[in-house]
């Protein structure tokens, strides 16, 4: 009898208690996928793109609000909506260029601190007014909830020339002595929904400049992201990358860092113009890539932001307390050797002129 009573007591208390606290059914939560933040004067303005099931289909709506902090705005939006806003599923965070140039340190730290937003969320900069950008998003008829996410998804719309940077990496760049990051830079496209225009260079949480999409490809290749399937267009041919191998060497010569880069690319030929020879194509590709790398390094040195993490390669040579000055003292002095080797793995169905 005592046991029965105990059992009944336990069960009833469970019934009473369940339905408190963190319990809110999934269909009573709104789960924004994209969070856009911009700053106006002292206030933040937040946009949320929310996929919503409607009549068997998923539509997306955009809501926005202004306030002192992001969480305050979310609270406000939550109070005004019929369901509560839950940032747990935010996959992409975008800011406009203005805010990025002002610095996103507090914003990113806040996201990392609260743990609501997964630290795997992607970070991107919009080269445009956010209200126009999100306005177009919501009016897009085919904009299924996850459209912007799919743009970055490796199994879906991702492309080797889009930088993939997650907010924990941005957070790392705030404190790191050597690692800066490149984040994708986007705006509304003319025919496609979004257009990828290159990457924003972020150093210590502040946007320092931008690099083109082509250079982002080099950035990705350098970081070991696969560049397979990327098509390079030359003056007399276009080729597709089939494989790549990269090696580095670093040394310090009288306090000047010297960095050598060995890149081996395997390509296949897709189209040719005016019947070039194998060697001509190789040479042209080598030249193209070297120039591109050189200008990337020039640009990095100029803004003193080390998005490739070159400083990491000098950890052995430079003691840790001096590594703090890597970006300002050593990096601008950096000498780089490029050794690029091209291998034409095959030429497709047709033969090509040797020599």
């Amino acid at each position: 009898m005592k046991r029965y009573l105990l059992l009944i007591l336990l069960l009833t208390s469970m019934f009473i208690l369940s339905g408190c606290w963190d319990n809110k059914d999934i269909n009573h939560r709104v789960m924004p996928v994209v969070l856009g933040v911009t700053q106006q004067d002292e206030n933040y303005e937040v946009y949320l793109q929310i996929p919503q099931p409607a009549g068997g289909q998923i539509e997306s709506i955009v809501v926005s609000g202004t306030g002192k902090t992001v969480n305050e705005i979310i609270d406000h939006i939550s109070a005004n909506m019929e369901r509560s806003v839950d940032l747990l599923h935010v996959k992409v965070i975008v800011v406009d260029r203005e805010l990025a140039e002002k610095g996103v340190k507090d914003l990113i730290s806040g996201f990392i601190r609260s743990r609501d937003i997964s630290s795997k969320a992607l970070f991107a900069v919009i080269d445009q007014d956010l209200s126009t950008f999100f306005g177009a998003m919501s009016s897009e008829p085919k904009a299924e909830g996850t459209i912007l996410l799919d743009f970055f998804e490796k199994s879906a719309g991702w492309d080797p020339q889009i930088a993939l940077t997650r907010i924990w990496e941005v957070y790392r760049s705030i404190y790191s002595y050597t690692n800066d990051v490149a984040v994708p830079l986007m705006k509304l496209g003319k025919t496609t929904l979004v257009e990828h225009t290159g990457s924003a260079v972020i150093k210590n949480g502040v946007m320092m400049g931008d690099i083109s999409a082509n250079k982002t490809l080099l950035y990705n290749a350098f970081n070991g992201e696969s560049t397979l399937g990327k098509i390079e267009v030359l003056d007399d041919a276009s080729v597709m990358i089939l494989g790549e191998k990269m090696k580095f060497k670093s040394k310090l010569e009288e306090d000047i860092p010297v960095f050598s880069l060995f890149l081996k690319l395997k390509v296949t030929i897709l189209e040719t113009i005016n019947d070039p020879s194998e060697n001509e194509i190789k040479k042209e590709l080598e030249k193209l890539l070297t120039e591109r790398y050189q200008s990337l390094f020039e640009q990095m040195k100029e803004s003193e932001s080390d998005i490739l993490g070159i400083g990491q390669y000098f950890r052995r040579e430079i003691p840790r307390d001096q590594l703090k000055e890597w970006r300002s003292v050593y990096f601008p002095e950096l000498k780089v050797d490029f050794n690029i080797e091209i291998d034409i793995q095959n030429t497709g169905n047709l033969k090509i002129r040797k020599g």
Binding site: G19, D25, I26, N27, M31, G56, I58, H89
Partner: protein, 435 residues
């Protein structure tokens, strides 16, 4: 008519199947006494009449002087022969009325490979089935007469070489203590007899219909208990491995056996976790789901009027009802339940937006997984444990699920039957390691 016969007649007054007839056998006039529901009289008399002198018959029987033993032997189905001039009777084993099934294939446990024959109500036959398969002088059979009012024969079978002496002596002590205390009719009585806890959520006495399984248990050092008129072998003690391992698995090639057993372990885990996981993911921790799944779950739950915990409890209840109903119904009407249940679960509930269609998938998966568990009684244990996890999940989400598993592990670890822990995996003599 002598006083002995008179007393017996008094004792069986009101029993219309009682007979006491005067017959001439071997030229002597005797009374034959018995119960015609148990004794085939004509056949027996025919056999008796083949004898020349009555003393020869008396040699076959047992002399009974007191009235109590006479009554008891009558109830056992024996025939009494009383000479009119003597004050004692002789009990004979007559040709019995056949009240047993013949050996049939098992109906509650399926055997894929191996012999499908099953135990029967007759304890002698059951012991015989074991003896026939285990031709060893180490196999010992101890029989006891139990019961306060209704006598019942029980038998303990064990392998003298393999059995835990501690286990055996504890069981024998318990039986000796219980002897004439109460009736022994069902397995719950067996729990009482063996002094096991009444409030046990797992079976501490494993049961089987298949002689092979009982044999294996004896070979592994366990004790098998037969109760007359119960067509099951009770294997002592029940342990966790009974849920997963079946002796018949050894008829598969070794790797296949391993994978089948792995499948059952997964079945147990899935049956335990999945319903709780649904509640946890839908109500408490939706961030664990991928966004695509989260959206489709949200969509499928659109318009469901109550919280996930109530939703799942309603559906689980219906499911349990269907399971129970399909046992109750005669097999000719059984399919109706399947059909009605199928319609309810498959279509109507979802279309009426009473539950989400994901839940139907979850429940179906859990039920299927539950059916992989060996032994129906074990699968009920898992069915009950599942609710603990569902409740905890509704309170604490995923933490609740893991905590629920923790509690179940603790519970299983705390059970001991005759000094042998429930989590025992190696039952060999002397070695007491467990795992």
């Amino acid at each position: 008519m002598n006083s002995f016969i008179g007393k017996i007649k008094d004792a069986f007054q009101g029993n219309d199947d009682f007979f006491c007839k005067k017959q001439i056998i071997c030229g002597e006039s005797v009374f034959v006494i018995g119960l015609d529901s148990l004794v085939e009289l004509d056949k027996t008399l025919g056999e008796l009449k083949e004898y020349k002198v009555i003393e020869e018959i008396e040699q076959h029987g047992e002399e009974l002087a007191d009235i109590e033993t006479a009554e008891a032997s009558l109830l056992e189905g024996k025939l009494l022969l009383a000479r009119t001039n003597k004050d004692l009777a002789i009990s004979l084993v007559p040709a019995p009325v056949s009240l047993n099934r013949s050996i049939e294939s098992s109906s509650n446990e399926n055997v894929v490979l191996g012999s499908p024959i099953s135990f029967n109500e007759d304890i002698k036959l059951n012991i015989g089935l074991v003896r026939k398969n285990m031709k060893s002088q180490h196999l010992k059979v101890k029989t006891y007469e139990m019961g306060k009012q209704y006598k019942k024969e029980i038998a303990l079978l064990y392998n003298q070489e393999m059995v835990h002496s501690e286990l055996l002596s504890k069981i024998q002590d318990q039986i000796a203590k219980f002897m004439n205390q109460a009736e022994l009719e069902c397995i719950q009585d067996a729990y009482k007899m063996l002094g096991l806890k009444k409030w046990s959520f797992v079976t501490q006495i494993n049961t089987t219909e298949i002689p092979d399984e009982a044999l294996r248990a004896i070979g592994k050092g366990r004790v098998v208990l037969f109760i007359d008129r119960l067509s099951l072998a009770l294997i002592l003690p029940g342990v966790l491995r009974d849920m997963i391992f079946l002796y018949n698995d050894h008829n598969y090639p070794y790797p296949l056996m391993l994978s089948v057993r792995l499948l059952r372990i997964m079945g147990i885990l899935l049956a335990l976790i999945i319903p709780g996981l649904y509640v946890a993911l839908v109500a408490v921790n939706p961030e664990v789901l991928r966004i695509e799944i989260a959206l489709s779950v949200a969509q499928s739950r659109e318009g469901v009027p109550y919280p996930a915990i109530i939703e799942i409890l309603i559906m689980l209840l219906i499911l349990e009802l269907i399971l129970e109903a399909s046992i109750r119904l005669p097999s000719s009407i059984g399919p109706t339940i399947t059909m009605v249940g199928g319609i309810i679960l498959g279509q109507a509930v979802v279309e009426a937006k009473l539950v989400s269609n994901l839940l139907i998938i979850i429940l179906a998966a859990a039920t299927i997984a539950n059916s992989t568990i060996v032994g129906f009684q074990n699968s009920i244990s898992i069915r009950i444990f599942k609710y603990l996890i569902v409740f905890l999940a509704s309170l604490y989400g995923i933490l609740g699920i893991l905590v629920g598993l923790f509690i179940i592990c603790t519970y299983l670890a705390s059970i001991e039957t005759f000094g042998i822990p429930y989590l025992y995996f190696n039952l060999n003599k002397g070695e007491k390691s467990s795992g």
